[in-house]
């Protein structure tokens, strides 16, 4: 069953009408309804509020990392574990191919349904998840394989074991190591980019966001509770934090916005996968024109150039 948000109800209605017209073989009606749908999509999605975009980024039907991996990779093998503690299932690593290109995909993975949500720990990695990601990235470096990182997490897991095993260090180590990892790296926020837990796989030659994804230093819920002292100010916090892809592109904090279908990845998974694949392959080909030294210098200058101040 598809999930529809409040502002998607008109779209739901037209889509249901299309289905019943198709059942009647009423091609004429289908044609007209499809035009209506296109107009409604244009109307609804061209004027989304930041809070509505946040809801889309967290939409239950939005493709997760594994969905993209299945749609993008021709050959694929999952590799498991950090070699030290356990296999954290909220981060997945796949070695495979996209066409002629070898690729290492590292993604944060949420689950669908109660059982899978628990299995994936709601997409909140423990330190061993980040260490698995780093192991995969280092392997890619060793064999000169381009890396695609897919960010989708509410944040790194806040728990006893996570702290005992040094969540801070796991994230920090990834930031440091990924800053000069000597292979082509591309990071894309596909849904929720929650703070340091997202950034831990977000240091790359290129950082992009799918159209309806968010990237934030703190969840709008956390921000409204702390700064407003009022948990009901989530919408205001969402707006104030500037977390949408268009805001962050305008602020020059990300390199690109991936051209996800206007109707959203949750309604058009294949369209979203094609957009992601096109972005990744184009990026790889463009980055290949640089020497290793040039590429690393460019990445470094981009990283240390972040921030605004006066002097």
């Amino acid at each position: 069953m598809a999930t529809y948000l409040d502002f998607e109800q008109n779209i739901r209605q037209i889509q249901e009408e299309i289905i019943s017209a198709e059942v009647r073989y009423d091609h004429h009606a289908v044609e007209i309804l499809k035009q209506d749908l296109a107009k409604e999509v244009e109307k609804t999605y061209s004027n989304l509020s930041p809070y509505q975009e946040l809801q889309l980024a967290r939409h239950a039907d939005r493709p997760y990392a594994l969905d993209y991996i299945n749609l993008l990779l021709d050959k694929k093998y999952e590799i498991h574990g950090d070699r030290h503690f356990r296999d954290d299932l909220s981060i997945i690593c796949y070695l495979g191919t996209i066409g002629e290109e070898r690729v290492m995909v590292i993604g944060e993975q949420k689950g669908r349904g109660t059982k899978n949500k628990l299995k994936r720990n709601f997409g909140m990695p423990h330190p061993e998840g980040y260490r698995k990601a780093l192991r995969a990235a280092k392997m890619a470096e060793k064999f000169n394989i381009p890396v695609l990182m897919l960010i989708d997490t509410p944040g790194a897991y806040p728990g006893l074991g996570a702290e005992e095993r040094n969540q801070s260090e796991a994230i920090a180590r990834n930031l440091l190591e990924l800053s000069n990892l000597n292979t082509i790296t591309v990071s894309v926020v596909i849904g929720e980019g929650g703070s340091g837990g997202a950034l831990a796989i977000g240091v790359a030659d290129r950082l992009a966001m799918m159209r309806y994804s968010v990237f934030s230093v703190i969840s709008p819920e956390g921000c409204s509770a702390i700064l407003w002292n009022d948990p009901s100010k989530v919408e205001a916090a969402t707006k104030a934090l500037k977390i949408t892809s268009s805001d962050l592109k305008e602020l020059d904090l990300i390199d690109d916005v991936v051209d996800e279908p206007l109707i959203g990845a949750h309604r058009d998974k294949e369209g979203a996968a094609i957009a992601l694949k096109t972005y990744f392959m184009n990026s790889v080909n463009e980055l290949k024109t640089l020497s290793d030294a040039e590429r690393l210098e460019k990445r470094y200058n981009r990283l240390v150039g972040m921030g605004r101040f006066s002097e």
Binding site: A156, Y157, P158, G159, L160, A162, E163, E164, R165, N166, Q167, S168, E169, I171, A172, R173, L175, L176, E177, S179, N180, S195, G196, L199, G202, V203, F215, S216, V217, I218, G222, C223, I226, L227, W228, N229, A236, A237, A240, L241, K242, I243, L248, L251, L253, Y300, L303, V304, M306, G307, R308, F309, S310, E311
Partner: protein, 280 residues
Amino acid sequence: MSLFNLFGDSEKKKQPTKSEAPSHWVKCPSCQSLMYYKEIEKQNHVCPKCGFHLRIGVKERLALIADEGSFVEFDANLRPVDPINFVDKKSYAARVEEGYAKNGTYSSVVSGECTINSVPAQLVVFDFNFMGGSLGSVEGEKIVRAVNRALEKRQGLIIVSASGGARMQESTFSLMQMSKTSAALAKLSDAKLPYISLLTDPTMGGVSASFATLGDIIIAEPGALVGFAGQRVIKQTIGSDLPEGFQRAEFLLEKGSIDMIVERSELKETLSDMLKLLLP
């Protein structure tokens, strides 16, 4: 340790008099005992009863670490801007001005060069009094410039952290300071120059999850609270109370997350020894 005996007796003799304002007395956040401010100041702000290392400002920290008169500040002219016009109950600009009024600086970081027992080093000190020691664009930039000076002069770097984490008012700009500072530290590491991270109470969130845990040597002060997630958040998530001493320096040492816990009386010598051992 020695501190307890040395100052424990004099503490007992001290009784409050009517002429002394209540502000002359401080309560130890760890053992709750009441102490006379002048007395505890002489003891490097260490609780004589339980040894807890109370939070101190930049001035006190410099006096503790740097050779007298050796500290030269850099980049004091860096000021925060309000990159996303952030307003919650107050505007970011107003909070910065409040911080300045309270502290006399526009940043939670003071950075510069000094000698420590005659060993030159780049020194970055966080001040929890300015917006909770939060990490914003100015703080990140000061750290990167300190790394660059260390690279130029082939010196070691010491960062003294005291921070609640990222500065929410700068949103993603603040978040990106984590990768910015970590990338700079990779350069320092490649140049084989030592970086010593001193964790003081508290070191949390985005600061803990970037430069603070990347030291070649990581030192914590006794009792310092250090961690990624805040205790309230963890409690809510797991739905139960936290074990005694959780996320304290002693806990971190036991779990293998830090190299050593050093008391303030030993700090300066430890730092200069580490610099000499790692950069002979």
